[in-house]
Symmetry: C2
């Protein structure tokens, strides 16, 4: 039985026909089916692989009309049947819920079948184990759809830039937050206004926490960092800060400084091969490539030692763009089976090393500090005194005209210093009696 | 002998040690050596392949100091020795001259050795033959370095977007012309001024024809079109127009229209699976991604049926960025050898079909028409009469103030119509006695 399964999974038949089983019929599952139905013939001509959809599994599959597929296909509500099906060589796992996705993924690999998954949480949290299991069982593992949907950044890092060593990667990896920020910037609206509108249009979830607090982006940057640096990054090691405190005044001040605000997920190689990881709103130059990434689009900037800066932008979500990524992984597995059994190593690195994390506090950065005060004499003097005590130099003080006395925002830009000094000073500033809200601190990052 | 060679080329030894022979020590050759020397160890850890430089061949190799390589390496002035060397598995061809590059490439494949080349002319003109020969001899063929230097766009098309079908690809593929255009735009200088400066700085060749007339870009778009559409495009089928007639006034008018001028190399799928191919200066929206590609940077925009728009920007030339691309191909070949002999198909498509070309004349486009006249009464009326006779609607007429009477440029934007109608009208307009120079026609293209 085991031998037969193995042959079924790895054996390159002469016509390269490969059976697919798709588990999960949400947005991505449906998108994948559509892309497959439409591109099947071109994929065969382009890549020489004959992909055959064999089984579809979803809890609601019996209520779905799948006649548009134009071909008979087995349906089931039990994912174990997909994996056990002798006609299925590649299992495409598109279930959103983590425990189920995890069970499917490991069962697939244990059964000696190839796995393609779009579940970022699964890959970010269990990436190293999945790689090890796929190696043991000599099967392929595709993860392109986990990061930046239809934008093939993982393939680019792993194959197209295989000869590069990276010093940093920066990404706009969450479409919802980028939509909110760029709409705030464009129209001068508040966070709450744009969020409500995005929820109405279905661009943001009813509970937007996972997106707006930066968690979604943290899974994606974990995966990108593993690929760029070969370290088994833990999501829990990534400090996360969201965009809920960004106000439209921040865009007005940012513009005066030729910058704008974006939620940046980043990983930088620091001294001693340690990684600095973060998800946080930052001040980036208005002329930078990531500042040009607008709406729900995703963008990634790779900084290489030898090749310089390379950037990618494209669709970050959506059923069909993500379906393209899923099928690209399927094709890569199919082609390597046909060629004799290449086993794409999903992270590029043969083995992920334990991660070595650098604290953000060591970072020397220029910062943007926005205070909102109830106006009275002597405010600036007291703030400056605290900053001076912490040996922080002020670069500029900006105040937009015509603000309310009781809710008066003003901005100080601070010269480069270790962030921990600013953090300490902020704790003192936060206790000042005239503050109308908690100070907002955004680092500047000098992106090309 | 043949058997031994074959084993040496394809046999996956247990430590995956692969011998490289590099032919050509110009900018790219030297850059490749530097990237290899610096990244060799990381490549081994990241991809599990032990790349060993065995032979270097160049006419001037005996005059070169290669002690910085830090390892003994054979040198020769005869490229045949590189191919014949039993320790060499992968031949890296970095010779600029086409006849030599062609001889090396075919001799390498005939000898059953893997080939990586950076020669765009070779690949654009002999791509289909090279693919056929590499298939016959079961060897790999890497071409990433031929297009957009360090920007891994070919890998992205072939692997990362393997599940996509493209409807169009647009590129800024020549760094010299993009540097000239973006400097003209930024500083309001003339073409001649910026060109002279670029030549002084070494950004442009003493004879800039190959770049500024669009020939360089035509080789690159030929390769990209082969990869995106699977047709064996001939470079001679690509109509080419350069940037020498672009004037600084065109940028002034473009700005008034929220557009800018870029040299765009493009390939679009048209009805009946025919391809429209072109290299020409075009009016693109100032907000588009390619408009943001400045200086000597390259940019590519892929329009997919299902994944939407994906764009890439990065270094388009330079020794080390191109060296990264060369090594990325080497690594891909090495990894597939180790995995059992996968043979990357350089164009993705198993077989390139004969190309089917659509004429640009069928295209319905809005156009920018710039006329320069010796001012006198009645000019506009005569031009409008000709356009009217050809049933071309005028959208707007623009004239910048304060121009000389004897060299007075003005612009008409024309509503969408088949380009052949405009071309015919232009022939009549060009005969008008008051024209101070030949009319300039630029199509608008609505890029995202």
């Amino acid at each position: 039985m085991k031998a037969r399964r193995k042959r079924s999974a790895n054996g390159a038949s002469s016509n390269r026909c490969l059976g697919l089983g798709i588990i999960g019929l949400g947005t991505v599952g449906t998108g994948t089916l559509k892309v497959l139905a439409e591109h099947q013939r071109e994929i065969q001509r382009r890549h020489g692989c004959d992909l055959q959809l064999k089984v579809i599994c979803s809890r609601s599959v019996h209520q779905r009309d799948l006649s548009w597929l134009g071909q008979p296909v087995k349906i089931t509500t039990d994912w174990k049947e997909v994996i056990a099906d002798p006609e299925v060589n590649i299992v495409v796992e598109l279930v959103g819920v983590l425990p189920t996705a995890r069970a499917i993924a490991f069962a697939t690999l244990e059964a000696g079948k190839h796995l393609v998954t779009a579940n970022k949480q699964l890959v970010a949290e269990h990436g190293a184990e999945l790689v090890e299991r796929s190696r043991t069982h000599h099967v392929g593992l595709g993860i392109e759809a986990c990061v930046a949907g239809g934008t093939p950044v993982l393939h680019a890092v792993r194959e197209g830039l295989a000869g590069e060593n990276f010093s940093a990667v920066y990404g706009i990896l969450n479409g919802t937050t980028n939509y909110i920020l760029t709409e705030m910037e464009r129209r001068g609206c508040s966070f709450a206004e744009v969020l409500a509108e995005a929820q109405e249009k279905g661009y943001a979830e009813p509970d937007p926490t996972f997106d707006v607090e930066g968690y979604d982006a943290s899974y994606k940057i974990a995966i990108l960092a593993m690929m760029c640096f070969g370290q088994a990054v833990r999501v829990s090691d990534i400090p996360v800060d969201g965009i809920t405190r960004i106000d439209q005044v921040d865009f007005a001040y940012a513009r005066r400084l030729d910058h704008t605000v974006r939620l940046i997920a980043g990983a930088r190689r620091r001294a001693g091969n340690r990684l600095e990881l973060f998800v946080r709103p930052m001040m980036i130059p208005i002329s930078s490539r990531l500042a040009g990434v607008r709406g729900a689009t995703n963008g990634v900037l790779l900084v290489g030692n030898k090749g310089g800066n390379t950037s990618f932008t494209g669709r970050g979500a959506g059923g069909e763009p993500t379906g393209v990524a899923v099928l690209s992984d399927v094709v890569q597995i199919a082609r390597s089976i046909a060629a004799g059994g290449a086993r794409p190593t999903p992270f590029g690195y043969e083995d992920l090393r334990p991660s070595r994390i650098a604290g953000p506090d060591e970072n020397v950065v220029a910062t943007y500090l926005r205070l909102v005060v109830r106006d009275r004499p002597g405010i600036l003097g007291r703030v400056c005194a605290i900053l001076g005590r912490h040996r922080i130099n002020i670069n500029s003080v900006l105040q937009e005209p015509d603000c309310e006395k009781q809710w008066l925002p003003f901005v100080m830009t601070l010269e480069p210093t270790q962030e921990k000094h600013v953090t300490r000073a902020l704790k003192e500033i936060a206790r000042l009696p005239f503050l109308a809200e908690r100070p907002l601190l955004l680092p500047f990052v000098d992106l090309p």
